[in-house]
Symmetry: C2
Subunit: 163 residues, 2 copies
Amino acid sequence: MSDSTNLTFRYATREDLPAIVALLADDEKGKTREELADPLPDAYYQAFDAMESQSTDALPNKYLLAILGDDIVGCLQLTLIAGLSRRGQLRAQIEGVRVSSKVRGQKIGEKLITESISISKSLGAVLIQFTTDKTRKDAHRFYERLGFVASHEGMKMALGQMP
Amino acid sequence: MSDSTNLTFRYATREDLPAIVALLADDEKGKTREELADPLPDAYYQAFDAMESQSTDALPNKYLLAILGDDIVGCLQLTLIAGLSRRGQLRAQIEGVRVSSKVRGQKIGEKLITESISISKSLGAVLIQFTTDKTRKDAHRFYERLGFVASHEGMKMALGQMP
């Protein structure tokens, strides 16, 4: 596999879904939450179509992929959310950040986050945010090194049976 | 003012913006972040139009208002976000929760949150989430009583000058 200096980025298409779900499942928490079957459960395709239905060029809700050679080696969901608070500021939000366990140690996660920040700025966002499970201590240190601040509590409530 | 048993809810229109910004500014943090001028800065109208551009009936990004008599006494931004993780789960996210200081102690905040949960469930969301500044300790207790769990760190990074 080539080294990460040749890393490129693009938004996901429907055809990328099996590779993305494989990445989502390649994770301590994700492995129990995802269903990596062949064919992939239709719920993933429906969710992809729902993301597309609420995406515009100016305000995407899309998966951003990191590509190395012919392989999808990283992904994150990037969502731009318009809102009224702070004088109508536009925020960017990330979710589902994964890097393939085959390519760890090549700063691919860092480059993927940096790319999402660059896209967010170019779209006019003045804030980028995400929540991360309090048990993922290594992840917190990684994000703090990149400049994120754990200034907020991330509060959640399940509204039914959750995978 | 009537008591809160007559509270009703509806989504905001463009004409409600001055009242919403007044609510956003009626807050310890909001008072320095918002600009409650007459006429309202155009940035708020642009942000409202951007919210509309990414809203669908199935996946709204809208302000939900609590109405008492003829007055808007509470608001929150409700955003439904499609995504791939957890088998393509749909999440609801809230932001900018405010209750007028004139009507405190009538459980209007609780009723507004409960309404947002009910709408989120009816749209198929299986999770509702938000972030809240770690200094807002009273707010955390309020949300924990409603069933939210502070399971995550809310991490943020400014991408430029922020109000």
